[in-house]
Symmetry: C2
Subunit: 171 residues, 2 copies
């Protein structure tokens, strides 16, 4: 077991010791809410939104892009009763700093001309964006226009500021 | 602003008031680590693993399935320097309770025969599983065999027990 894993287990023991009655929580989110946000290490959405265990589904990926997560959103809505999606993107996001071709070049250069790698990475849209508020609005619009999402869903878009910890609603 | 949103903003004000020097954190994860886990409302991976702001990328979706997240993992490794992935699935996961065709039927029935909806939902693999430890092992194996993932990546698989809060390493 690596030092990293020893640390997981040690810190987890403290969590287990203070677990209380969280084992009684139901599977469906109490607030009928999905939070979509970035995987960024500086973000702790449970902490900065006051989301407690049992409250909400939390979906995270590079950028907080809804296009990668239709499978998860459908499962959340149709099997577990959520009816609201709040999408958060954030300031100083890595997605603002590159183009898809930049990542493709890095991967292809490291693979030294491997044709399988080149074909696979060229097929991936890395979903970078240049305009933070614009990207939030675009993701809200994409989800509102998606026929597999329930039409009665409340969909909002937000920005999280990594310099202050503050959230602001965009749309 | 809905009551839900008023609550976000109110609780966020408390987070901002205690933000300290977190605004100085760097974008790349300090532990060079990606956590992949489920969107389940009962999970707070930062709390149950003792992950602090700045430590790790956290990716979450229905089940904690790596197949949906190759875009994010590539960005994390190639642009932000992570070299380890720890995959967590959990007991009492919704993914253990259905087949893809069950979700497809629910969506198609609600859409009352809409052909666009039917074709779209039939094309989605909802990635359910029947065996919890087996699904963890399968995701670890999938990532180890993925040519777009760096070969030097440390990849481990874990189970989180929602009844006790305890994590156990599977592979």
């Amino acid at each position: 077991m690596s030092p990293q894993h020893t640390e997981f287990v040690k810190r987890n023991e403290q969590y287990v010791a203070n677990f209380g009655n969280k084992g009684d929580l139901a599977m469906p989110p109490a607030k009928k809410l999905i939070i979509v946000t970035c995987m960024d290490a500086r973000l702790d959405p449970a902490a900065h939104l006051g989301i407690k265990e049992g409250d909400a589904h939390i979906i995270r990926n590079a950028g907080g892009m809804v296009k990668d997560e239709l499978r998860s959103i459908i499962i959340s809505q149709r099997l577990l009763g959520t009816r609201e999606v709040a999408i958060f993107h954030h300031t100083d996001c890595g997605m603002l700093t590159f183009a898809s071709d930049d990542v493709r070049s890095i991967v292809k250069d490291a693979a030294k001309g491997d044709a399988v790698v080149a074909a696979k990475v060229d097929a991936i849209d890395f979903l970078p964006f240049k305009d933070l508020e614009g990207s939030v609005k675009a993701d809200v619009a994409w989800l509102k226009n998606e026929p597999l999402v329930l039409p009665e869903t409340t969909i909002t878009g937000w920005v999280y500021d990594v310099k202050s910890g503050k959230v602001s609603q965009v749309v």
